[in-house]
Symmetry: C2
Subunit: 296 residues, 2 copies
Amino acid sequence: MVPFKKIVICGVGLIGGSLALALRKNGYKGRIVGLERNREILSRAYALGIVDDAGSPMDETFRGADLLVLSVPVAQTGNVLKMVMPYLSAEMVVTDTGSTKTDVIAVAREVLAEKIDRFVPAHPIAGREMNGPDAAVDDLFTGKKTVITALSENRKDDIEKIAGLWEQCGSIIHYLSPDDHDNVFATVSHMPHLLAYGLVDYVANHAKSDLFFQYAASGFRDFTRIASSSPEMWRDITLANRAHLLTEMDAYLEELKNMRDLVEKADGPELEKIYANARRARMNWLNTIENSESKK
Amino acid sequence: MVPFKKIVICGVGLIGGSLALALRKNGYKGRIVGLERNREILSRAYALGIVDDAGSPMDETFRGADLLVLSVPVAQTGNVLKMVMPYLSAEMVVTDTGSTKTDVIAVAREVLAEKIDRFVPAHPIAGREMNGPDAAVDDLFTGKKTVITALSENRKDDIEKIAGLWEQCGSIIHYLSPDDHDNVFATVSHMPHLLAYGLVDYVANHAKSDLFFQYAASGFRDFTRIASSSPEMWRDITLANRAHLLTEMDAYLEELKNMRDLVEKADGPELEKIYANARRARMNWLNTIENSESKK
């Protein structure tokens, strides 16, 4: 059972919208109210049945609410928190769905000040390259991990409530420190996004662009799928996770430089060793983690 | 109608095997004989119904054959051609399915010498990350392009026969010069393979490898799908297309270095511009080329 009676979701796009749909599907009986800077998106979410109420004045939106979920681009966290501060009741828990945690926590500490204890940071590891309420689906989190990066100030009770919220959506709860979280996702998510965006931009700006795109096929399609993600959202994530991203990029660029030199030297055995190691590691990952999770 | 009576396929793995299955499915009534250095693979292809005959002596394999298809890793082209040279009858057409063309043509010229006119180089743009006869499927080429990089020595008749072979498998015929072919595929296929192999190898060798793999999700899975491809085959392609690969890698690494510096400078607007340009170009490619082709 979801331990909340009325949930305000700020940002009813892919993640916020999917959370609402998943809660409904899994038996949540309370109210879900949407909050959006963009009225059109809010109306669309209402029309799609994602939220029960949309566009009410702030005091009405927050009346009786016991959970606020921030599901906005991470760079907007501070502004949104400032805006909602006057409406946060003493019982209300606040959480987020941001792809980066250190920066979100820093800004939350600044804005929430002594109320920081009620902010339980979380990150559901799920997504699609589409965005907006029309992209929301009720099984986005099923069998996927949600990482909670709890603060020392958090009450045990509140952490359990947020864990319960995501478990109700079919998600598996993991706990990481904010720094480990940001390092992990810099490597396995943020950097690949940057590489994919970079490759498509490179091809698009090439003198032979039309010829290249003409023959791009399924390998290119899958490699660059994430380059169809929201540029605004990924700009924010890139900047928010700058430190880890730079460390990982510099190390990966070093590896690419080494591979480039192996190509120049026509060093077949060393290249094959790298390819074979990658293939083996990927197969092992698929068998032990990725596929077992997808089956849940 | 396929304009051949007896086809010898040398290499009955994913591509060679799928060609045989596609020909059968689309009404080819002639014989298909397999040729393989590895007896186990040949037996497996025979058991799967991919070839009508397997393991006969060379003179019997080639008796009455009017087409030889080379579907082996590109680096083996020379050795295979030397081995089959004594059995090439005057009427026989030779073609290949290699992912690189300049190097394959160079070695074919050397080995075939005055018989080079009968070698019509081709490259079906289709694949899966699995390999071997068990990965072969009868619709691998349906709606996909096959690029023919014809030689000035080729007879018009022979080029049309090879075009007919692939059209019978549902493929759409394109013509490119060998150099344009190799430049295109260095950029949209070979380099992405190298980047994907490199990323998985990087993660696998990282001190936090276990933690990273634990949280790798669908973005990472799609980005690295091609890193499950055959290391031997991709070693050969990398070496065969070295010149174009180095040119494109150096230019792309330049772009990545620039993006890395934008991250360091926290230049949000410039990063967003690159992301947005990539997203727009990819959407445009999906809408005008990739999706329209998939529907065929």
